[in-house]
Amino acid sequence: MSRGVVLASLVLAVAAAIAISLRFGAVGLGWSGVWDGLTGDGDPIAVAITRDLRLPRAVLAALVGGALGLAGATFQALLRNPLADPYVLGVSGGAAVGAVVAIGAGWAGAAAWSLPVSAFAGAALAIALVLRIATNVERRLDVRVLLLAGVVAGTFFNACILLALSFQEAEAFRAAVFWMMGGLGGASWRLVWMLALALSGASIALLGLSRSFDLIAHGEETAGFLGVPVQRVRLSAYLIASLLTAGAVVAAGGIGFVGLFVPHTVRLLWGGGHRFLLPATLLVGAAFLPLADTVARVITAPAELPLGVITAFVGVPFFVLVLRRQTRQAPA
């Protein structure tokens, strides 16, 4: 199958995932009920459920999945490590701390834009911190230390969230679950537009860097010899990946492992350079997360499972698989 056909079918897969996500929920509407609701012909309740609840949620799920997949692919390209993922590296945790700080300090109440900005600052600080910890005295990045540093940072950030929330009694538990496990219950068109804007900008910028990523995959020195401005590429790519992570966290809290297994699935199924890998990752993530969210909403209906539970149940076995394969290939 040619790359173009694959991408076109993935676009259809995203549309199908969104359609399935629209179809199922606590109230049974049926395909025709959903259609009538979307077109505005149905009864007002069906219109409200489809247009105001399910549609923004399904679209936001697709955007969050795409953003996390793309962020994961970017981290993996830069770090030349298949286990890199915004969650594993502690970047999601940093973004969540940024968001919680913005809420706790009252900035978010005063100016709505300060929440995403603060989350972005948190994400960028987190990746800078983790990279600093993992870079040894010879200024070489030790991959095993990197993962350890990410896990330590992520645990620390969770503690920070719990600390901040324990000073705010009311509803603190629910808020903690959201920032640590994630969920799409707060979906709104405002969040959809915010994330769509960040995601389209980031996608274009990353596509422009895809050739550099291909060369960096052969080693940074080689890439440097071949004329890649490695430091500049690294800095901008880290910032873009932090932006994507922050956008996903603001919209849906801390959802793990999507950035890990989505790029892998793409590599396993089709392989290929970043010019294909990046858009394919975006689309697979965008198809996966609406489906995962549908499962989270339906499996214990009318109650809901945290979305992070579903992605962890898919992602952790995958992580173990990749880890085992990697250690077999390169015994320490």
Binding site: G25, A26, V27, P44, I45, A48, I49, D52, L53, R54, P56, E171, R174, F178, G183, G185, G186, A187, S188, W189, R297, A301, P302, A303, E304
Partner: protein
């Protein structure tokens, strides 16, 4: 139960149900209760130095004019009679050290698994622990009876219980405009929760003249999806909040989903202070009155 006046039983269906449920509950609770009594028998009753970790029980002790028996409070107890007492922390996660330092002879707490360690340590130190569980109004009256025994104030407890019953009966006689509105008690969350029919909040709604939305749920605080709330289109929303009514109404009107509820669009949101509505204690009657008056404001009297 013997204190419920006959005329109330005959004139009021709601309290009838409550009374019947309370009889049933009293019967099936008997072995449990005697176990509790056995437990308490280890102490020197009546208790003279009491710490209540259950705010509604604390309220009841104050209402029994026995505030002088209390030696501590939780951080949620802010009644003026006891505001000066030392705090032991939260009701579910009190400081064991602070508790022991107060040298109580009785600690009243929730019947909760989280307590097991705490309870065992208190009892090992010779401090009695009385566990209570308050789900519905029947439990409120049972807990008043229990307090009467524990504090050796059975007459005062009986009078207080009669007063609460009388005020509840007075509220339920007034009623609301017909048709009876369906009332959704909204515990905000993702997804939201509501009160089962056989919780004190569900019963307060009925006493105040409404019919609980999602009446098919009997016990506890079930999660209901926002979609299901939209499909049910309750007539009135009840929210426990310390925010102003205007603030709560505005917040609901901005939320996707919630703003599509007719009740939200037409401003039929009733806001009751959280520490009133969520506290099943001796103020049950006045809470029912407050709720009833608020429902009348948005729905109309009979």
């Amino acid at each position: 139960m013997d204190l419920i006046g006959r005329e109330v039983l005959t004139t009021n269906r709601v309290l009838w149900i409550v009374a019947a449920a309370s009889l049933a509950l009293a019967n099936c609770n008997r072995p449990q209760q005697s176990a509790a009594e056995q437990n308490d028998a280890a102490t020197r009753l009546p208790a003279q130095r009491v710490v209540s970790l259950v705010p509604s029980m604390t309220d009841a002790i104050v209402a029994l004019n026995a505030a002088d028996r209390l030696v501590g409070r939780t951080r949620y107890d802010i009644a003026p009679e006891i505001a000066d007492l030392p705090s032991v922390g939260g009701g579910l996660d009190p400081s064991l050290e602070a508790l022991i330092a107060l040298e109580p002879d009785l600690v009243i707490g929730w019947e909760s698994a989280e307590y097991r360690g705490l309870r065992a340590r208190l009892e090992a130190g010779g401090i009695a622990f009385h566990a209570t569980s308050i789900e519905d109004t029947t439990d409120v009256f049972r807990s008043l009876d229990e307090l009467g025994v524990l504090l050796d104030l059975p007459d005062r407890a009986a009078i207080l219980a009669a007063e609460v019953r009388e005020s509840l009966a007075g509220v339920s006689e007034t009623g609301l405009r017909h048709p009876k509105p369906t009332v959704f008690y909204a515990l905000l969350g993702d997804p939201p929760r509501t009160a089962g029919r056989r919780t004190f909040v569900g019963q307060l709604i009925e006493v105040a003249g409404g019919a609980p939305a999602f009446g098919e749920f009997h016990d506890g605080w079930p999660e209901v999806s926002l979609e299901a709330v939209l499909a049910a289109q309750p007539d009135i929303l009840v929210v426990a909040s310390d925010d102003t009514t205007i603030g709560v109404r505005r917040a609901f009107a901005e939320q996707p989903g919630w703003r599509d509820l007719t009740a939200v669009r037409e401003g039929r949101i009733v806001v009751i202070r959280a520490d009133l509505l969520n506290r099943p204690g001796p103020h049950l009657g006045s809470v029912a009155r407050t709720l009833h008056d608020a429902l009348v404001d948005v729905w109309g009297a009979r």
